[in-house]
């Protein structure tokens, strides 16, 4: 067993399996005192599973965790926190209705004569936050502050409670450049105090800016741990996505669609949601939409689909102006939209796979003209076979299916309406690697059949794989468009990064 006193946290040969998949396969991970250690990998690589094993949210199947040289076995995240491993998630896990001070000291408020000493608590909260360059009114509700501030409050709480290891899970996803800079200043300061910091992100610039070492996971296995200074970006991406996929990416968009644009959106936008943009989409084209979280990707999709009515500009199909004032109107023009959060906006968990698949088609026909049961069965069976939806039978409640299969069922729902213009918002989020590749292949097939698609994804490699054009968003505006040979992961990353630098300056 390799433990040295400089490692504050060592995870050795961690195994974790889920029914059907091996999420972690003998993964080693060592975190030194006073380092920022980036943990990278594509979605489904096992990053979050590893983190959940370290913080006790999952119980590992095998392997051992050493904290400060002693073996630990956290029962839950609270236990891990007590032991010294604090975690801050992208979605701030604090209580928005409580004051900042109460959030910091919940469960350990200073007391006098059995009563909470509010004045002492607020004073301690101010002292604590002043170490983080924050001057706040700590008596105000947490919800009244920006996400970045909430993030820092969460870090302050985690460090104050735990003080050995800090795990930052995508902390910068919804922050702007200034806020990221502030966060990084804080991280550097904590590093100087000797904390071990695990940093998870999708943004490679940030990885190079802040990390000392990088560990890459792929498909639940450890690819390697390197010093950030010795690892150039190309090699890092190769570690993350593997050579096979890299090769596949280059061959993907050999034949880009030609011809006149079929769908023309001119000066299309909605105040407060997305700046007016021009967008032309041809038949048989996949337009990828890239950008950071909160850059206006979903807002673009919602305006196109009429979920939020555009307040400027015009939409034309084949040169004929159309009114996309509501999703119903859009569906009538043969539009389809798979939303991002399938749990809340997509599936109806207790209905069967069949019912979920026919839902959109039935809605378009109107409830007065029901689809016959035989027709429903035919459609469901057709798509279960065509999309390879893994389900015991079509009557199984959809919530019992895995994420990837749910995603395919929602795709089936829209395919059943035979759309000509399909918008997919994060079609591969939260599904396993195998299903991932299948969805990508499916997008290719739909494109070849002559469908026009808009695909939003935060996974740049994936956009590269299927897009004939990529639009880059920033600050709720379309800022760049890449096509042909310019669609590479590096170019997209650079376009996003350039867009951000422009904003920072």
């Amino acid at each position: 067993m390799q433990t040295s006193s400089e490692n504050i946290l060592s995870a050795v040969r961690i195994d974790k399996g889920f029914p059907g998949t091996k999420a972690l396969d003998k993964v080693d991970f060592h975190l030194r005192r006073g380092e920022v250690h980036a943990l990278l990998g594509e979605n489904g690589a096992g990053k979050s599973t590893l983190i959940k094993c370290l913080t006790g949210a999952y119980h590992r199947d095998g392997g051992s965790i050493l904290l400060d040289g002693t073996e630990v076995d956290p029962r839950d995240t609270f236990d891990a926190q007590r032991l010294g491993i604090g975690t801050v998630y992208q979605e701030v896990n604090l209580l928005p209705n409580l004051s900042v001070a109460e959030n910091l000291f919940l469960g350990r408020q200073p007391r006098r004569f059995g009563m909470v000493d509010i004045r002492a608590m607020n004073r301690k909260a101010r002292e604590l936050l002043s170490q983080y360059e924050l001057e706040l009114d700590v008596t105000r509700a947490l919800a009244s502050y920006s996400v970045a501030i909430q993030q820092v409050v969460a870090i302050a709480r985690a460090v104050d409670l735990s003080g050995k290891v800090l795990i930052l899970d995508e902390p910068t996803a919804s922050l702007d450049a200034h806020e990221v800079a502030m966060l990084f200043r804080i991280v550097r300061r904590l590093k100087a105090r000797g904390l071990g910091i695990i940093f998870i992100t999708h943004f490679l610039e940030q990885v190079y800016e802040i990390s000392d070492r990088i560990t890459v996971l792929r498909n639940g296995r450890l690819v390697g741990t390197r010093d950030a200074a010795d690892l150039d970006r190309r090699d890092l991406i190769a570690m993350m996505i593997g050579r096979e996929l890299a090769a596949e990416i280059h061959s993907a968009h050999a034949n880009t669609a030609g011809g006149e644009p079929r769908y023309r959106f001119t000066n299309y936008g909605r105040r407060g949601r997305i700046e007016p943009f021009d967008l032309n989409v041809r038949v048989g084209e996949v337009v990828g939409i890239a950008g950071l979280l909160g850059s206006g990707r979903t807002e673009t999709a919602e305006v196109l689909f009429g979920a939020h009515r555009a307040d400027s500009g015009t939409a034309e199909i084949d040169g004929r102006p159309v009114e996309l004032s509501s999703p119903r109107a859009a569906i009538r023009q043969k539009f389809g939209f798979c939303p991002e959060d399938r749990k809340t906006a997509g599936i109806v968990g207790d209905l069967s796979v069949r019912e979920n698949i026919v839902l959109a088609l039935q809605a378009r026909r109107g409830w007065t003209r029901p689809i016959s049961r035989a027709e429903q069965n035919r459609l469901a069976d057709l798509y279960i076979r065509a999309l390879d939806i893994r389900t015991a039978d079509r009557e199984k409640p959809i919530r019992l299916l895995s994420g990837g299969n749910q995603q395919k069922a929602i795709l089936a729902r829209w395919l059943a309406t035979e759309p000509e213009f399909l918008i997919l918002d994060e079609p591969t989020r939260g599904i396993d690697v195998g299903a991932h590749a299948e969805i990508v292949r499916l997008i290719e097939t739909l494109r070849e059949k002559g469908m026009s698609l808009i695909v939003i994804s935060s996974e740049i490699e994936e956009l590269v794989a299927y897009s004939t054009r990529v639009i880059v968003l920033r600050d709720r505006a379309h800022v760049a468009e890449l096509d042909g040979d310019r669609i590479t992961a590096d170019q997209i990353v650079e376009a996003i990064a350039a867009a951000n630098e422009r904003r920072a300056s």
Partner: protein
């Protein structure tokens, strides 16, 4: 001003305004006598509403309160009539029963992950049914100790009286305010209202807090039942029907968010006063049907729900811009 004080300020403003309007028409309404009666008449509702405030702050609801009040009254009447038990012992006994009853409902809500609405609805039928089992008639309570208790009051200048039960309500509110705002338990209640899952992640003892909240509500419903039996000198199983709804109304008019996590115990007191004031006005007027109370309270309730929606909407916009 901080946003969280907005509903409470609105409540106080409405109360002061309506009090001024009433006083302009009937100057007598300012007399300490009326104020004393306001406290006495609403004592049982106020005490129960304190418990309800905690339940609603935690994001729950307790529909059993009215039935528990009726059960308490019948229990006391039956025990005092058929046994020689001293009322104080009977009080302690019945408070124990109702507290346990509340704790049991809290445990079911937490451990069986049942919605509070259904569990306390079941509790409502159960408590009312138990009251009927004890007696279906209205039983008068003639114990001399009751007369002693009813004779206790603090005389205000101007002839008004703060009776024992009116004073008790104020005391319960004072303790409730301390409990909600100055103890860890209180903060935990707010934390549950902010989100159970997050609260758990942050180390809030969700199980014991939930059980304690409903136990507290049961205890205060029991106390409210004792006060009600003192007020009416009787126990009747059909009494206090719908009191839980009046209590919810007072809590919401008092500025507590029905979805939990935000509000003040003190607001509930003002909510009680507003309801009592409307009632008093109608008594003073004499010609208005008492249904006007319900109509006015209904309108107020709507207004407050709209106000809360507006505030939630505003705070969301603020956050987006921040």
């Amino acid at each position: 001003m901080k946003q969280k004080y907005l509903p409470l300020t609105a409540t106080i403003f409405i109360f002061v305004l309506s009090y001024a309007l009433c006083a302009a028409q009937y100057p007598n309404i300012l007399s300490t006598r009326v104020i004393g009666n306001l406290l006495t008449d609403n004592a049982f509702l106020g005490i129960a509403a304190v418990g309800m405030t905690f339940v609603i702050l935690s994001g729950g609801i307790d529909l059993s309160i009215g039935s528990v009040i009726a059960f308490t009254g019948v229990f006391l009447a039956v025990v005092l009539e058929h046994t020689s038990m001293h009322p104080l012992v009977a009080f302690a006994l019945v408070l124990m029963i109702t507290t346990l009853f509340g704790a049991l409902m809290g445990a079911i809500i937490h451990y069986l992950e049942m919605p509070a609405f259904i569990v306390t609805l079941a509790g409502m039928f159960l408590a009312r049914g138990m009251a009927f089992v004890l007696s279906i008639d209205s039983i008068p309570i003639k114990h001399p100790f009751y007369a002693t208790l009813k004779g206790l009051y603090y005389k205000l200048p101007g002839g008004g009286r703060i009776t024992l039960i009116g004073g008790l309500m104020l005391l319960v509110f004072a303790i409730g305010i301390l409990l909600a705002h100055r103890t860890r338990f209180g903060t935990n209640v707010y934390a549950l209202g902010g989100g159970t899952a997050t609260a758990k992640l942050m180390g809030v003892p969700v199980a014991s807090t939930t059980v304690s909240i409903y136990a507290l509500s049961g205890l205060l419903a029991g106390l409210s039942g004792i006060v009600f039996s003192l007020y009416t000198s009787a126990g009747y199983s059909l009494a206090a029907v719908g009191v839980e709804l009046d209590a919810i109304t007072a809590v919401v008019i008092g500025g507590t968010l029905l979805t939990g996590g935000s509000g003040f115990v003190a607001g509930t007191l003002v909510g009680i006063f507003i309801q009592g004031l409307i009632q008093t006005y109608i008594t003073f007027d004499g010609s208005l049907s008492s249904w006007w109370t319900k109509i006015l309270i209904g309108a107020l309730l709507f207004a407050f729900i709209l106000l809360q929606k507006g505030i939630i909407h505003l705070s969301r916009d603020n956050r987006k811009r921040a």
